[in-house]
Amino acid sequence: MQRPDRHSVRRRAHLLPAALLVVLAFGNRVITNQSDLSPWELGGFGMFSTIDSPQSRLVLLEGTTLDGERLVLEAPAEVAESIQQLRVWPTLDRTDHVRLQLESFRWARKEEVAVIDAAGSPLLSVDVVVGRIAISDSTARFVPLHQSSTP
C-alpha cells in the first residue's frame, strides 16, 4: 500500500475540522448512551431530538428540620452552578456534592418552603433527587436518575 506523502496530507488538511467534528459528535453519542448526559448538551447534535433537555429535568431538594418537619428546600444562588451541572450530566458524585452543599447551610421556614438564613438552624437530613420526564400515551412520569440522602 502506498503511503500518503506530506503534500497530499497538506492538501486535505482543510477537512480536518470536519473530521474532528465527526469524532466529537460520535464521542458525544457514546457518552450519552452510556451515561445520563443530556443529548442536548456538550457539543452533541441531539438538540431538538428529545424532550430530555437540561431545562426539562427535575431536581428535587427536600430537608428535615430539627423538629422533624419535612420541607422543600429553595435552591440558593450558591448552588445554582452545581444544580445546572446536575441537570446537564447527573452522576451520583454530583448529586452527593449538591447535598453536601445544602447541608452546610442554615435554614429557616418561609411559608411552605425552607430558605437559607444565617440565623436559622441546620437540617437533620437533606435529600436530593435528579430525574427526567418520560411521556407516553399523553401521560408523563418522573424517572429518577440519581438520589443522595444524608446517611
Binding site: 470536519a18 456538550l42 457539543g43 447534535f45 422543600v72 411521556i135 401521560t139 412520569r141 418522573f142
Partner: protein, 275 residues
Amino acid sequence: MTATGLLKPTSSDDVWLVASGSLLVVVLAFNDQWWPTQAIASMLALLGLLVPSTRNQSSLWFSMSAVLAAGFVLEWWTTDNHHLLIIATLLLFGICARSRDKVDRLSSGAAALVAVAFAAALIAKAMSPDFRSGVFASYVPTLDPRLGDLAVRVGATSRETLVTNQSALDSLATTETVGLTPVSDWFAIVMLVWTVGLELLVAVGFAVRHRRLRQVGNIALLTFIVTTYSVVPVVGFAGVLSVLGFAQAESRLLKALYVAAFVSIPLQDAIARVL
C-alpha cells in the same frame, strides 16, 4: 448590479475578507461562552477586524480556537453544539489562512463542516425514541416557550393548555403520573417533516460534489437558517452557518443571500428584544 452579475463568482480576496470578517463578528458579538475565555477571544477577534492583514496569520485563528476550546472544556455545563461548530470553523480558517488557494480550500472545508453537522443532527433524531414516536414534536411546545409561542400563534394549541401542561409537569415532584394534552397532530407532523426534510437536503447537498444537489442544499440551508432561527434565535448558530454557507457558495446571488441571513437573524432578535 445586473441579474447576470449576481450569478458571477466573486474575487477570492473579497470572499476571504467578507468570510473572515463575518466569522470574527460571530466570535465578537454572537458567541456567548464563559466570560474569561470569551473576553480573550473577543480581543483577538477585534484585532482581526481592525488589522485585516492578521487574518492571513494562522496563529490568530488557532489561538482563538484554542481559547474557546479551553472555555468549552472548563465550563462544559453551559456549552452547546454551536460553540463546537464555531471552534471547528476557526480551525478551518487557521488551516486555510496561509494557503495560496485559501478560498477553494475554505469552500471545500466549509461544505464538509455543514454536511457533518447536519448529518450528526439527523442521526441523533433517528436514534431518539422521543423523536421517532412523535413525543418530541407533540410536547416540545410545552417544554420550550419559543416553540410554545409558535404553536399558539398558528392555532395548534392554546396558551391555557400549555400552562396546564406545565403545571402538571411541575407537580411530578409530588405526583406519580400526570396527564398532558399534546399539540394538534398536524403541527407535530409539519414540524417533523420540515425539520428532517431540510436537514436531510442540507446534509446530502453539502456532502456530495454535485452542482444541482449543492444548489438544493444551499436553498435548504438558507431556508433552515431563516425559519429555525426566527423561532429559536440562537444568533451564534445562525451566524456560523451563514459564514460557512457564504464560504462555499459559488454565485454572487447565493453569497448575497447568506449575507442577508447573517444580518437578518440578529437584527430580528434585537428588534424582538426591544419590542
